[in-house]
Symmetry: C2
Subunit: 350 residues, 2 copies
Amino acid sequence: MGTPESDPAGGTPRTRRAKRPTMEDVAARVGVSRALVSVVFRDAPGASRETREKVLRAADELGYRPDSAARVLARSRSRILGVMLTVRNPFHADLVEAIYPEAEQVGYDILLSAHAPTRHSHKAIEALLGHRCEALILIGPETDPAFLTEVVRQVPVVSVGRRFPDTGVETVHTAEAKGVRQAVDHLVALGHRDIVHIDGSRGAGSAERRRGYRKAMRGHGLAEAARVLPGDHTEESGAAAARRLLDEGTMPTAVLAGNDRCAIGFLDAVSRAGVHVPGDVSLVGYDDIPIARLSHIELTTVRQNVPRMAALSVRTALNRLEDPGRAPQEAVLTPELIVRGTTAPPRTRD
Amino acid sequence: MGTPESDPAGGTPRTRRAKRPTMEDVAARVGVSRALVSVVFRDAPGASRETREKVLRAADELGYRPDSAARVLARSRSRILGVMLTVRNPFHADLVEAIYPEAEQVGYDILLSAHAPTRHSHKAIEALLGHRCEALILIGPETDPAFLTEVVRQVPVVSVGRRFPDTGVETVHTAEAKGVRQAVDHLVALGHRDIVHIDGSRGAGSAERRRGYRKAMRGHGLAEAARVLPGDHTEESGAAAARRLLDEGTMPTAVLAGNDRCAIGFLDAVSRAGVHVPGDVSLVGYDDIPIARLSHIELTTVRQNVPRMAALSVRTALNRLEDPGRAPQEAVLTPELIVRGTTAPPRTRD
DNA sequence: AACGGAAACTAGAGCGCTCTACTAGAGCGC
DNA sequence: GCGCTCTAGTAGAGCGCTCTAGTTTCCGTT
């Protein structure tokens, strides 16, 4: 017959992968019940120190690893948080990185699902739902509100950076208007009056940034000077805006970009045209993505509080889970202007 | 008592989320067995057209969605491919986007796991293993080979962009040396002789790129002229290299960056210093990330065949799954030089 | 009318866990 | 010696699905 013990390690050496060991195998090896092994792996009370060690050792020898699928199925709660992101977006990447430790701290696993040109956000969300996520955190979702309304019926949904009024979706976002106001105040304090805003069109937060810009300009008696250029949240649109201003000869003394990527596109395009930042034109971005900090960019920008956004997203989801009856929350974070090297007083024209 | 039917929709309206419906519920509603509903959802033969429609309709009305955990548990094969990526890396994002449709085509689901400063790659891999992935695709993994050797015992592993000799890990990567040679040939053909390479240090593929560069220079009788500057695969290192060349007054006529991000950092730093690309110095990147194509960058670069890499990663994993006995494969793809706007003949010095 | 066979459908045993309810035995006060 | 509590451990019923091995139905044949 052969000893059962010799099986997992040896098996048919490399031709057939050994069947993965289960709790049963670990239990048999130690000579205890399966339930006790479960206790040990869940770190639940009810096993002696000695037993714990024996079980853990046996598991290690066998190469045992708990099966998430079985675990999720057996548990009433999955302890999984689903996170949807646009995989290309560096700001999203920042958030995801911050969400991982946050979730771990409260004992939740994270399941990632990518939204991409090749993968509709509906599909990304369905996948998360199929995996029994207890709650969803959607980063800057460009999703149909009607669809979200459906999803909210099944599971708490937190949207980061974009509001979905009257859908039951919880929101964590930055006080965009406040950030823009700080930027405009800073530019005006430096002496700028001709400040152009490159719009973010349908990008997360851009409607509020646009409104905030207009309001801030008005606040400084600069309503007449306010100018909004079409654009979006990509480098390309910043470059396009730069070219347009260059071609039309209507370059202002300062530009407030829709986000950092847009700002960087702008910066690049004007630099190559021999226009200096901040000598000829000052520039402010939005988000403070890692690249903005780089020595050769040194972008003055409005920082969103990423660690706090991550923490709040997780918290909000959990709160809703604990109290499903409560009204959807909207957490608004205060942004912070980070002054770096792309802003300076305007060149005096004489 | 109450009719069971009124439960799912109504329940306790908003205070308590309705328990999610199961196959049993759908079966009961249609008046068939659970097994038949399973058949319909698996798209397996054995159900009449009429029944399929009824089942699908009932499922829709109930808001039924198959439970992945239960499905995975019940199935002998999970039909899940685990993908590890560095969430910040745009090249990784490209690959992931290409992998999704590829996996879908062969009936596999994708599970993403992020490697990040806050999350060790071991942890990312463990998570995938716990979810019973049939095979792993690791994108540019910076993982300990000894650890991977262990993992390979349990499941096929495909590494994209980085080789792990003698570990049993399958590899899909680009013929780096070939790409670099094309770049050098191009520059030499333009008349360049003073071509500097900014190194990628431990980044995926950089050792081969460095060797390829030296060899290509030698091939043109330029062994003496070969110069390798320290760097890595970030914008910052490109900018640092630029500053160094600027400061030392040793700016060559052409630069071959370790990758596109590095090239962009270089481009930005020299542009701001008033040095023109390609007028004063030509520049070639590597990867052809989306940003390289932008109108204001127009980076000449070596394109890695992303769609093909994605397809091959999936294929290689499946092949190994079908024939676990075969030796680990190494798929080498041919890169392609994309000539854009950052290369030109050197300025004639007179 | 009886038969054969394909198509449509069902029963029920798992998959690998968790969790509730239970038992055994040790320690302890009176 | 009795009941009591506490800790360590076990039994076994699910969780929601898949899949094998049937069973039933409904044809067209002869």
